[in-house]
């Protein structure tokens, strides 16, 4: 799997990318630590922790949308996750 570092203005830092092919389609995989900061969409602060999308540890922090604290723990998309305490719907 090829790797490449490019600069992200959004993150204000370099990020490492990998390239993989699956099912005849090329995919770019982002391997970086994410701090999503304040999310106006859900009116909450999100700290995504390390996110190599679909297999990563995520701490979603406080989520006002569901009025609860959510710690997704380890999320290999579709597998074990600990939703934590939630007052949500």
């Amino acid at each position: 799997m090829d790797k490449l570092q490019v600069f992200s203005k959004k993150l204000g830092s370099a990020m490492e990318l990998s390239f993989a092919t699956a099912g005849g389609t090329d995919h770019i995989v982002r391997s970086s630590w994410l701090n999503s900061g304040w999310s106006n969409y859900s009116d909450s602060w999100l700290n995504s922790g390390w996110n190599n999308y679909s297999y990563s540890w995520q701490n979603n922090g406080w989520n006002n949308y569901s009025s609860g604290w959510v710690n997704s723990g380890w999320s290999n998309y579709g597998s074990w996750s600990n939703g934590g305490w939630s007052n949500g719907k």
């Binding site: 490019v6 990318l17 005849g24």
Partner: protein, 322 residues
């Protein structure tokens, strides 16, 4: 994996502004059902075809649509169905079309041109089409079929990309897939292109906001199991968003197309490649050119060299295309 593309004639119940099919309907006869079935079986047997795309025009209008679909399922092909979803608004049509066909073989892709009825209907030229297509998608999803909602990005809708993502999540739920695509101007007159073309430099910021929303919805609701951006260059957005960009491998695309000519024969186009590639001069020195979805040739011809940016390792998108 070899794939096949079969247009079941050009007849359509919509008259989309940027679709060339409306002009071809009266000029080109469809191949016979027997010829199409023979072509499918030949593709499976001789070219190892495992995936087929059924398109048109509107494929569900073909009188033998169910017969063709059933044969593809019998051959255990993965079937991509490109449809406007209009005929699905009647549940009896859904039952008739998919009767006896296992759902795991079928993936439906339907284009919605807006999150609102009027702009969508203006594009399709078919009043009420938005409501029918949305209901149609809900009907097929209720039957357990996989659906991708697609939007071809144009000047008419790029500003509302985040609203469109929000609409799809709320209307179709977290399990729907989505794809946002660059536009192919094939068959369009210059004045038509001018009316719909949106520069990548303008699309990029709006696309980023839409993808921010996608990521937020994924985090909270595990929404959009598959979300992709196609036929747009990587340089139109920050590298932070590149994980959404999908590039179909240009090798091993075995293509049949029908109807090919006025005699209505199925024509084979062995080794045909997608006319979406990296065309810009800036791409020559770009460190991600190999992984970039590229743009449609017609878009490159219209926009020219100024719309691409070269990316160098460790650096961001350069201001000068060189």
């Amino acid at each position: 994996m070899s794939s096949m593309y079969l247009a079941l004639g050009y007849r359509c119940n919509h008259r989309c502004y940027f679709c060339p099919c409306g002009n071809n309907a009266v000029k080109t006869a469809a191949a016979s059902t027997e010829d199409m079935l023979r072509a499918i079986e030949q593709g499976v047997k001789e070219q190892g075809v495992r995936h087929i795309t059924l398109s048109g025009g509107e494929p569900t209008l073909h009188p033998d649509f169910h017969t063709i679909l059933r044969r593809c399922a019998e051959l255990e092909l993965q079937i991509g169905l490109l449809t406007n979803g209009d005929t699905f608004h009647k549940m009896e049509n859904v039952e008739r079309f998919f009767d006896g066909i296992p759902g795991q073989y079928i993936h439906i892709t339907t284009a919605l041109h807006s999150h609102q009825p009027e702009p969508h209907d203006r594009v399709t030229g078919a009043p009420g089409s938005f409501a029918r297509s949305v209901q149609g998608l809900l009907n097929v999803m209720s039957r357990g079929l996989q659906v991708t909602v697609k939007q071809v990005i144009s000047r008419w809708n790029y500003r509302q990309l985040p609203d469109f993502v929000d609409f799809c999540f709320r209307e179709f739920g977290p399990r729907v897939s989505m794809t946002l695509c660059g536009m192919d101007f094939c068959g369009m007159q210059p004045e038509q292109i001018s009316a719909v073309a949106a520069p990548y430099s303008e699309i990029g910021p709006r696309l980023e906001k839409a993808l921010d929303l996608v990521m937020s919805l994924r985090q909270q609701f595990h929404a959009f199991p598959h979300f992709s951006v196609a036929d747009l260059p990587l340089c139109c957005v920050d590298p932070y968003y590149w994980e959404f960009f999908a590039k179909v491998s240009r090798s091993t695309l075995t293509q049949y197309s029908a109807p090919a000519d006025s005699q209505g024969h199925v024509k084979s186009s062995f080794g045909s490649t997608n006319d979406c590639d990296i065309f810009f001069e800036a791409c020559r020195n770009c460190c991600v050119a190999e992984h970039c979805p590229g743009v449609w040739r017609t878009a490159y011809q219209y926009f020219g060299e100024s719309e691409a940016r070269c990316i160098r390792p460790g650096c961001g998108v350069s201001d000068n295309a060189d």
